[in-house]
């Protein structure tokens, strides 16, 4: 996941956006919780202002009512001058501009014993003038029976209040308006209630005031000013204490008919309203603001919660949507720009790199962005450089492979190198770690009997080591041809190497100089790995030589020479540290102990087999890890000087036959040839001898030559005579199935010879009959 650059950057962008969103959400939550009370407070104060206005109205009307009560009192206590009182009323009432009307009303017969009702009423006409109307004392109207009168006077009487309010009522005299009336008591000297003053308050004016109240919807979080008004808010103006409705603007109710009715007609009203955070009414949430007046009236404004917090919710909504859009757009933009400015150039560069790898010719074209253009031009340059380097390298590689083949051909690699010398077997191999190695081996005859072999490791690897090795090999070969002692030879070699060594290289070397006729051998160890020696029928053992200094280090160094004698079957195994230091996967070295065990577990004493088995042992151990050093070995096996061919030559006459078979029998004994084969050889010898004796030299006497040769698993019996050409193999075989009576007496000899040999050949060469018999052992 997120492996590509693109996905990584996108992941980072998305993560950052997610963090921003989260932080914003948290902020919004805090903001909202802090802002809500502010909003509530705002509306609350707004409504408070309205309440104050209404409260002012109430107080004014109540004061007016009290004022009229004083006038009524004055009127009663003084001379009851109606005209004066009318004038005063008119004057005073003129200032009560917001009252529809007002008056003083007396209890029955208080003013005039003859007149049950007495009142003075003043009101504002349409032009704003004050009109005094006395008609309300009429029998027809009978204010004493009007609800407002009864309500007010009973309240004043019972509750002893300064000002009492009537329930809303229709004034059915004239204006026919819906109103509410405040009244105060008029008392005589003894404190008896003798009448009331009233001031009318037109409900429509209250309603208007309430309706005119508009709440500005807050549109921005920072400012409350301007914007639209809140819709769907409604109000209830009611006297809670006395349980009647004055004004209701509830859009779901028939408000007109509710005026004066009990508050229980308002479905949403609850006494707990003042404590409630909101009410749910007709599926909408409203926040009620309750303002109470002293006289038991209450103004309740219900504002839809949605409207109220509209701007807050709206702002949050816009911000959330904005963020979501941002979180879509920013990654998209990032993705597009990444693709265009980063991924595309990268893909181009990848394609180019692939082409370069395949060796195709390329042209790099990136102009934008600048960074990639620079990279591209660097690429271009690099490609040119790579091409040059590759060509040079190819040249070097081909030169190296030439060097390798030269080096390989410089080491003797045809085995057996001296097939005519049965006295010893030798096998050597080198597997270079790099193209050319620093290891080498060599062997050659110094003179007719002295055979020199060596194995060496030049310090360092590669070309310098290889060149040094070639020089050294040549000079050793040259120096060895000079007739001198082993001691002198090694000193000469060392001195010469020291002289030619300008690079500070040195060589460890193990040299063996063997006399193949006697088996005497000189071994010189110049700082090299100890060889192993296997004595006839014994085990391989490390030959504990004293090590001399490596060659090429000190001029005129002295060398200790180890002298020993090899017997037939002895094997010397030499190697370089590439074998003991071959490592496996665990970096563990093959080591001398493993080599020792490996050699002693071999099932062959053949030099090529030994090399093969050791190599496969190492391969198995290293298990195909990279070969770190040259693996070189040289195996020398001494066979001794046994004479493998016995010869016999005498005049071929019967008198000599016993010499002949004695020679055959002795040879068989000497070679430990088993009885059966010895018998065969005896029989064949007789037959050929007789043949030659009787038929080869019809006119003279001649000689017979016989050679018995023992070699790998067979005995070769060769006969030569200088008699007449005769190929005995052409003689037809006798029929040995015939009954004895019919069988000829002779003719069995050659048949038997053919029967007994594994191979028989005849040739005529240099006037000689040569018959060669081969027997498998």
């Amino acid at each position: 996941m997120f492996k590509t650059l693109k996905s990584k950057i996108l992941a980072i962008a998305v993560t950052v956006l997610a963090i921003i969103t989260f932080v914003f959400m948290a902020y919004a939550y805090v903001f909202e919780s802090k802002t809500k009370p502010l909003v509530l407070d705002y509306y609350s104060r707004y409504i408070e202002v309205l309440k104050d206005n209404i409260n002012d109205d109430i107080h004014r009307i109540e004061n007016n009512s009290k004022g009229l009560a004083i006038i009524g009192n004055l009127f009663y206590r003084t001379d009851k001058s109606v005209e004066l009182t009318k004038i005063v009323m008119a004057k005073i009432f003129y200032n009560y501009s917001d009252s529809l009307g007002g008056g003083i009303w007396f209890e029955p017969y208080v003013i005039d014993k003859s007149q049950k009702r007495f009142c003075i009423y003043a009101y504002h006409n349409k032009d704003g003038e004050v009109v005094i109307d006395e008609s309300f004392s009429s029998e027809e109207y009978n204010y004493l029976n009007q609800s407002w009168y009864k309500e007010i006077i009973s309240q004043i009487r019972e509750k002893k209040v300064d000002v009492a309010w009537s329930k809303p009522y229709y004034e059915n005299q004239g204006s026919n308006t819906l109103m509410i009336t405040a009244g105060s008591g008029i008392f005589d000297d003894k404190g008896n209630l003798i009448g009331i003053s009233t001031v009318d308050w037109e409900i429509s004016s209250i309603e208007e005031e309430i309706k005119n109240m508009k709440f500005v919807r807050k549109n921005s979080l920072s400012s409350f000013a301007s914007g639209k008004f809140i819709k769907n808010n409604f109000a209830l103006f009611a006297n809670i204490r006395d349980d009647y409705i004055i004004v209701s603007t509830d859009p779901y109710l028939d408000n007109k008919s509710l005026v004066g009715k009990g508050i229980n007609n308002i479905p949403w009203y609850k006494s707990s309203l003042i404590d409630d955070l909101f009410i749910n009414y007709n599926g909408k949430d409203y926040i009620p603001f309750v303002k109470a007046f002293d006289n038991g009236m209450n103004l309740i404004i219900c504002i839809p919660r949605k409207e109220m917090f509209y701007s807050l919710a709206n702002t949050l909504k816009i911000m959330v949507i904005g963020l979501i859009l941002l979180s879509l757009i920013i990654p998209a933009l990032l993705y597009l720009s990444l693709n265009r400015y980063v991924m595309k150039p990268i893909n181009i560069l990848i394609n180019i790199a692939n082409k370069i790898r395949k060796g195709e010719d390329i042209e790099i074209k990136i102009e934008k962005p600048v960074e990639f253009a620079q990279l591209a031009s660097t690429y271009d340059k690099m490609t040119q450089d790579i091409k040059t380097i590759t060509n040079e390298r190819a040249k070097i590689v081909s030169e190296l492979s030439i060097a390798k083949s030269i080096q390989e051909s410089s080491l003797p690699n045809i085995f057996p190198p001296f097939p005519e010398h049965k006295e010893f077997d030798i096998f050597a191999s080198m597997e270079a770690a790099k193209e050319v190695g620093g290891d080498f081996y060599d062997f050659f005859f110094i003179d007719e009997t002295k055979f020199m072999f060596l194995i060496a490791d030049v310090s360092g690897k590669g070309i310098p080591a290889a060149l040094f090795m070639m020089t050294t090999k040549t000079l050793i070969n040259n120096l060895a041809q000079n007739d001198c002692t082993s001691q002198k030879l090694i000193e000469n070699i060392n001195n010469k190497i020291c002289k030619e060594n300008t690079q500070g290289l040195f060589i460890t070397m193990l040299i063996g100089i063997a006399d193949i006729t006697t088996g005497a051998i000189s071994i010189i160890n110049c700082g090299h790995n100890l060889p192993l020696i296997k004595r006839q029928n014994g085990n391989y053992e490390y030959l504990q030589l004293n090590s001399n200094i490596a060659l090429g280090v000190f001029e005129n160094a002295k060398f200790e020479i180890y002298e020993t004698k090899l017997n037939s079957g002895d094997i010397i195994y030499t190697y370089t540290d590439g074998i003991t230091e071959a490592t496996n996967i665990k970096e563990e070295m093959f080591g001398e102990q493993r080599l020792y065990e490996c050699l002693n577990n071999l099932d062959s004493n053949e030099v090529t087999e030994i090399a093969q088995q050791v190599k496969s042992s190492i391969k198995q151990y290293t298990n195909n890890t990279t070969q770190s050093d040259d693996i070189t070995m040289l195996i020398f096996k001494y066979n001794g000087t046994q004479n493998n061919t016995k010869s016999f030559k005498q005049i071929v006459v019967q008198e000599n036959y016993n010499h002949f078979y004695t020679w055959v029998n002795n040879t068989c004994k000497e070679w430990n040839i088993d009885e059966n084969l010895a018998n065969k050889l005896d029989m064949c010898a007789e037959e050929i001898f007789a043949n030659v004796a009787f038929y080869a030299y019809p006119e003279k006497t001649g000689s017979i030559e016989a050679y018995l040769t023992k070699s790998d698993g067979k005995i070769i019996f060769e006969f030569k005579d200088e008699g007449v050409a005769y190929n005995p193999l052409k003689k037809p075989d006798p029929d040995i199935t015939l009954p004895p009576e019919e069988r000829p007496i002779g003719g069995l000899g050659i048949y038997m010879v053919k029967e007994m040999t594994d191979d028989i050949t005849y040739k005529r060469e240099n006037e000689k009959n040569i018959l060669t018999l081969t027997f498998k052992i």
């Binding site: 016993n658 078979y661 069988r743 000899g749 038997m752």
Partner: protein, 104 residues
């Protein structure tokens, strides 16, 4: 070569030789036996050849044995070969003589 010939009963001959029956001796061996049979007054029909001391037999030896066999056969006699070593037996077998010679 030591060759000992011994009469056994009226018509029997026992021959014991030591050494090789080869180019050098076979003819002498054969001749001695042949002469003995021919020189004898009685007719020899039962010849036993003791091979226990014979170390080698070549084609010349085999030839002599075949001649003896034929001679005795003609006289309706019997040729017996006694104590033939395995080594020599191989030679007899090689030429098919084992098919008719009597080995005891």
């Amino acid at each position: 070569m030591d060759i000992t010939l011994k009469r056994i009963g009226i018509d029997g001959l026992y021959v014991k030789a030591t050494g090789r029956l080869d180019l050098d001796n076979a003819v002498e061996y054969g001749a001695k036996i042949k002469n003995f049979i021919e020189d004898n007054e009685e007719i020899i029909t039962d010849v036993t050849l003791d091979f226990s001391e014979i170390t080698f037999i070549s084609s010349f030896g085999l030839k002599v044995i075949l001649e003896l066999y034929k001679q005795l056969k003609a006289q309706e006699g019997v040729l017996k070969l006694k104590d033939v070593s395995d080594q020599l037996m191989n030679s007899f077998k090689m030429v098919g003589f084992d098919k008719f010679l009597l080995f005891v």
